[in-house]
Symmetry: C2
Subunit: 591 residues, 2 copies
């Protein structure tokens, strides 16, 4: 059988065969801990996405199971995450009012489209497209998103109305409704936020003081949100704060995830295509980096194209079970890993735990104040906000700095979709610009040697009637015409020129566009009375050139080495070698 | 003054200063010949673009003058050309009915938008974007366009109605109207076509037989279309064929180009944005290649960004003087050059000639049959049709072949806009795919030397606990993650690995994304118990790395040479060097 083994597309076949009791114990412990952590997180991200609270739990069940079957990471935990939830709210909020059936339906369609795109990218092995979102752009985008998310949750802390997808809209809306402020809600929200901040910083040392081991203390600290939820829910219930204007979660259906069917209305699909693509890319990029970081610790292997399939299946699952777009989350995956998860079965057990929660725990969260969920979100996302990327980028390169600051600024001013699109477009344009101008160097001989170096960096000898140009890049269509332009310019500027040598030691490939450019260069130089030579052509490139008529038409020769070219083209007596002296940097660089 | 000299943006200041009597003579002779050739060509391309005939002449006057001021080519003749006229018809035909005022207004807007885009691309020096249209894609597009154009003109030869922008639509429409065929029109059209084909092949030898010099014979042969026009116009006039169903040009206003104002209605502009961009790119690519070919013959210099400004100004001129989109044409430019044009003043004189024609000759073409114009177009465009590109591409590379055949097929099936868009998108995707997977080679030592070569191509020694990977490309965001993926895979597959050496002799640049990838690789390898080393890092790259904390965090060392790395990492006694033998190609390539 020459097909790839089925286990490549179904990694479960690989790890499932070797599953044993010790893996089971590790997975089970991890699942219990992650389940406890995921309940508040799922509810909170559902709120952020504008969905009913139970949708957050549903979005964690089927996706986790499907990822366990198709994904390659042993520890990745899939479900709603902050940035993707914010992007969902931005995309679906343009189409329907939050809280309506149309809103929920559009979120299902968005999850379906995102799942379909991820699957398609995976099946066609197009995961490389995500590479075009550069690291600084992602960092800037996540920082700006964190600010937007935190700002958007302030209204729940203040107990007022509010909306908007850009920083100005959100702040403006908060100010407009400031008179509706509910002081009890503020009290609950601020206490919960303060408590959760303390949990992040202070609970772990406190648990260590109580005698817990470092790992348990770490895990215990992650249960802080559950404590906040229990305490505030009890407070609302005991003092009947719901009647006094505190917004609560309210009735939550007690059921397993429902079977849902996304809408395929053409107008809805066409409106959601671009958001779905952006969500897919951002989700994939976040998820793969978490997966690779965790896999490295155990020398496990992540297959990026199979990850796309895993995430695609997870989103499809969300679409058909009442969820919304999901991806691999950082904090839940780290907790899963630290708690000892050994295989994706931990995810399956987590799904089971969440299903039980959906069946039996939902009545208990009736009195849960939304302010607590908002506090959970704010504390979680503020850890994503990191402006140090600006400083790093500034110090490292101005181009990267421009990309980061544009992404941050545009995301805050115009929302996530404009921000991330601008980031991608900027990155690709900068990339196209750079590759369309490959590095080329006019070279001359280092006196007394057979070496040829850049005339701008070294003291070398050149001959006025010979131009030797080293091309430091493969030649293909984005840069082929640049070579034409450069040689036209040299030919026009140097009337004494009779020979051009293109030195190809770094040319690994030539495509048909570059071949045609070389033919055009050959003809044009011939018309200008100049011969064209090549030197140091690699074997595969030579093979390819032989498949065309270029070598027959070449007006000059193909030299094995640049030294040979220089010797043969030297016109003894006419004008001897001329030494070009520049402020040659005594650089230690390997040229 | 540190600004660039004004003559960079106004090349006329450069050549105008040195203008003399000999240049004047050459330019004048060329202008007379080009004017005679342009009259039928302009009328014909106006017909192809769906515009009134006089628009073709108008589109040649102001654009030629403006190009003469702003363009850098000495010989380029700007005006309506076949492919751009076809694209105009396709774009404007979607918006209004040919022959209506709305159609003419939309064509003006299209010319304006195209001019504005070309100007913007030139001012921001974005001409490199045109490079992403690869040569094979252009060749395929022009061949397919030639077929579409020829097919679309058949209806004028047959004297029937017809429409459509794809091959199936055109042929279907012809068949549907076949019963309306007008035999007199067919007689005129077929004779004119046959005569023009003979002119292309036979007139030149015939003129030589009559004793003309080769250059004059060549130029004489270009006047064939004028002869065909005179003969058929006289026939229609003498036998009153217009009354017998032969479609004639009819009333043409006798005037200089009018001052026109394009419409800026937002809905029109938004519909024409994409077509205008495609027309701009195709027009620029065609024009620059003609300009460079002609400039090379006299060692003149073409500045691609300034060419964009010249063509932008020309299209602006067309928009405000009753024209439609224009660009530098191949045949007219070659005739201009061959006839002895020395400066852009030849263009100015041509414009004068055409203005006189617009004023005084238009009554003479009242009886000109449209079939003759169609014959002119068919004969001209069939010379563009060249399927040999398919064979060339097939032999040269499968990727190029796929791009060409897709472009040809999609253009014929779905029209010019889909075709050229698909060509651009395919080219860019293939490019992104290739750059996202840079060439990397695991290397080993050539026994007895200090040289390191690809283990797949050479007989070399490696050590099982050391992986030496040579990266043959600068590291930046499109390929940074690929390096992460590859190293994760190696680390997962080789349990005995303790040291990884990344060999950077070909890494010219590292951006922030790649730096972060290197940091992630360093951390992940560390987690897996593997040290990361670098070797042969170039000076500028080293400088850049020093601006970050990467070198402090690097778990291994930075070696000046790969040889030094191998010596230091060799674990004498544990396991000696192992010789990897492969079917090493005894290649003569310079590696």
């Amino acid at each position: 059988m020459t097909l790839p083994p089925l286990s490549r597309y179904l990694p479960i076949l690989d790890w499932g065969r070797r599953y044993d009791r010790s893996s089971f114990t590790g997975d089970m412990v991890a699942a219990v801990i992650v389940t406890i952590m995921l309940i508040p997180q799922s509810l909170a991200y559902a709120l952020l996405a504008g969905m009913p609270p139970e949708a957050g739990i549903y979005a964690s069940i089927a996706p986790i199971l499907l990822y366990a079957i198709f994904g390659t990471s042993r520890a990745l935990a899939v479900g709603p995450v902050a940035v993707v939830s914010l992007m969902t709210a931005a995309a679906v909020g343009n189409i329907a009012e939050s809280g309506t059936a149309g809103y929920v339906a559009a979120a299902l369609t968005l999850a379906f489209l995102s799942g379909a795109m991820l699957l398609a990218l995976g099946l066609f092995r197009l995961g490389f497209l995500a590479n075009f979102l550069s690291h600084p752009v992602i960092a800037g985008f996540i920082t700006a998103s964190g600010i937007l998310i935190a700002a958007s949750q302030l209204r729940h802390i203040l107990g007022i109305q509010g909306e908007g997808h850009t920083l100005l809209e959100i702040v403006g809306s908060l100010l407009a409704h400031l008179d509706e402020i509910n002081l009890i809600t503020v009290g609950l929200g601020v206490s919960a936020t303060a408590f959760l901040f303390w949990v992040r910083k202070g609970l772990k040392p406190f648990l260590r003081l109580l005698g817990l081991g470092p790992r348990m203390a770490d895990i215990g600290a992650k249960t802080g949100p559950v404590l906040a939820i229990i305490a505030t829910t009890l407070a609302v219930w005991a003092f009947d704060l719901g009647e006094r204007g505190v917004a609560i979660v309210g009735e939550v259906p007690q059921s397993l995830p429902p079977l849902t069917l996304p809408s395929f209305s053409p107008s809805l699909v066409s409106q959601l295509l671009v958001p779905a693509l952006l969500i897919s890319i951002i989700g994939f990029v976040e998820s793969i980096s978490v997966a690779q970081t965790l896999a490295a610790k155990k020398r496990q292997r992540i297959d990026p194209d199979q990850e796309l399939i895993g995430l695609g299946a997870a989103n499809m699952g969300a679409a058909f079970s009442g969820g919304f777009p999901v991806t691999g989350g950082f904090s839940r995956s780290v907790v899963n890993y630290d708690a000892g998860a050994e295989t994706p079965a931990a995810g399956a057990f987590t799904a089971l735990g969440l299903a039980l929660a959906a069946l039996f725990l939902t009545p208990l969260i009736h009195y849960l104040p939304k302010a607590t969920l908002a506090a959970t979100i704010i504390v979680a996302v503020l850890s994503l906000v990191d402006f140090s990327i600006l400083k790093r980028a500034w110090r490292f390169s101005r181009a990267d700095f421009a990309a980061v600051s544009a992404t941050i600024g545009l995301t805050l001013l115009f929302g996530v979709e404009v921000g991330v699109t601008a980031g991608v477009v900027t990155s690709i344009l900068v990339h196209l610009y750079k590759t369309s101008r490959p590095h080329m160097a006019v070279v001359g001989r280092v006196p007394g040697t057979e070496h040829f170096r850049n005339v701008l960096r070294h003291e070398v000898e050149t001959q006025p009637h010979v131009l030797s140009l080293r091309v430091d890049e493969s030649l293909y269509f984005p840069n082929a015409r640049y070579l034409e332009d450069q040689l036209s310019a040299y030919a026009a500027d140097k009337p004494e020129l009779t020979d051009v040598v293109l030195m190809f030691p770094a040319v690994n490939e030539i495509d048909l566009s570059a071949l045609e450019s070389l033919e055009a260069i050959n003809t044009r130089l011939h018309d200008a009375g100049i011969r064209l030579h090549l030197s140091e052509v690699k074997g595969p490139v030579m093979d390819r050139l032989k498949r065309s008529h270029f070598l027959d038409e070449l007006t000059g020769e193909v030299f094995l080495s640049q030294h040979e070219a220089a010797c043969r083209l030297a016109k003894a007596g006419r004008d001897g070698p001329r030494t070009v002296r520049r402020s040659a940097r005594a650089s230690s660089s390997v040229q």
